[in-house]
C-alpha cells in the first residue's frame, strides 16, 4: 500500500520539473509563433542536404523535384506548386504522403519535409535570398 501512495503523490520535485518543462515548451511555442511572422520571398529546396534550387514566391509555378527515389533521371519524385505567394507540395511518391498532407507555407522559416525522399522545402526571406553560397 506504500507503493500506492507513492504513485498518487506528486512531490515538490515533480512539480518543479513539470513547471520547467511547461515553461520551456511555452517559450518554444512563443518563439515559433512570433519568430515566424515575416512573409517569405523565396523558396529553397534541398535534396539530400544539398541545394536543389531557389524559386521566387511571387511567381506562380510548378516545380518538379527529382530525388534519388525517382524512377528515372527525368522523372520527379515530388511536385511543388507555388501559387498566390504560398508553396505547397502537391505530389510525392513517398509511402506516407505526410509532405503532401501538410498545409501550404509562406512565412520565413516554415518548411515542408519529405523524409523518405529526403526533400526539404524552406521559405526564406530577403536577406537569405541574397547570399550566393549556403553552407550546411
Amino acid at each position: 500500500m506504500e507503493n500506492r501512495l507513492q504513485l498518487r503523490k506528486l512531490n515538490k520535485r515533480d512539480f518543479v520539473l513539470l513547471l520547467v518543462l511547461l515553461g520551456a515548451s511555452l517559450g518554444l511555442l512563443a518563439w515559433f509563433w512570433f519568430g515566424h511572422q515575416e512573409t517569405g520571398v523565396m523558396v529553397e529546396v534541398t535534396v539530400d542536404g544539398e541545394l536543389y534550387g531557389t524559386y521566387s514566391l511571387k511567381e506562380d509555378q510548378e516545380i518538379p523535384i527529382i530525388s534519388k527515389t525517382s524512377q528515372s533521371e527525368s522523372e520527379a519524385s515530388n511536385y511543388l506548386v507555388i501559387a498566390k505567394g504560398k508553396a505547397d507540395m502537391i505530389q510525392g511518391d513517398c509511402p506516407d504522403k505526410l509532405c503532401v498532407r501538410q498545409a501550404a507555407i509562406s512565412h520565413v522559416g516554415e518548411n515542408i519535409v519529405c523524409l523518405p525522399n529526403r526533400v526539404v522545402v524552406t521559405i526564406i526571406g530577403e536577406e537569405a535570398a541574397d547570399t550566393d553560397v549556403i553552407i550546411h
Binding site: L7, L10, D14, L28, L29, F32, D48, D96, A103, V120
Partner: protein, 170 residues
C-alpha cells in the same frame, strides 16, 4: 512483488505486446492535426509505462522494441521503424532515469517520455535529410509531447494502481 514463473511472464509479455500493437493500430485510425507531421497520441507508451512499473525495465524495453518493429512493418515502412526506434529508445532511457534513479512520479516520467520521444524522432529526421531547418518543428513537437505525455501519464497511473490491486488479490 511475488515471484512469477517464467512461463507466466512470457505469456504476460506476449499479451502486453499484443496490447501495445493494438494501441499502435488504433493510433493510425485517429486523425491528428497536420500542423506538423509526426504528432501522435503515444498510446503505445501507455503499455510500455505500465509494463515498466508492474514488471520492470527490461521487460518494458523488450515490449517497446518489439512493438516498434512489428507496427513499423505492419502499418508503416522502414522509415517509420528508424524514427520510432530513435524516439522510443531515447524516451525509454529518459523515463528509466527519472523513475529508477531520481524517483519521480509516473506522471512526470510520462511527460518527459512524451517530449523526448518527439525530440529523438526529430533529431534523426534532421540527420537523415541533412537539414537543420526542420528543427523548427521542435516547438510544436515539444508541446504536443508534453500534452500527450500528461494524458498517458494520468491513464497509466490509474492502470498501474488497479493492476497492482489485482496482483495483491491472488
Amino acid at each position: 512483488m511475488k515471484q512469477r514463473s517464467k512461463g507466466k511472464t512470457v505469456a504476460l509479455l506476449g499479451m502486453l505486446l499484443a496490447l501495445a500493437l493494438l494501441c499502435s493500430y488504433i493510433e493510425t485510425l485517429i486523425p491528428m492535426p497536420m500542423v506538423v507531421p509526426g504528432i501522435k497520441m503515444g498510446l503505445a507508451n501507455l503499455v510500455v509505462l505500465t509494463t515498466m512499473y508492474l514488471l520492470g525495465p527490461k521487460e518494458a524495453l523488450a515490449v517497446s522494441c518489439a512493438r516498434i518493429f512489428l507496427s513499423g512493418f505492419l502499418f508503416g515502412n522502414m522509415f517509420a521503424v528508424v524514427y520510432s526506434l530513435a524516439g522510443g529508445i531515447l524516451s525509454f532511457c529518459v523515463m528509466l532515469l527519472l523513475k529508477q534513479v531520481w524517483k519521480y512520479n509516473i506522471l512526470t516520467v510520462s511527460v518527459a517520455g512524451g517530449i523526448f520521444h518527439n525530440l529523438g524522432q526529430l533529431l534523426v529526421a534532421a540527420l537523415v535529410v541533412e537539414n537543420v531547418n526542420i528543427l523548427y518543428y521542435m516547438s510544436i513537437l515539444f508541446f504536443s509531447g508534453l500534452v500527450t505525455g500528461a494524458v498517458i501519464g494520468c491513464i497509466s497511473r490509474e492502470v498501474v494502481l488497479r493492476l497492482a490491486d489485482l496482483e495483491g488479490r491472488k
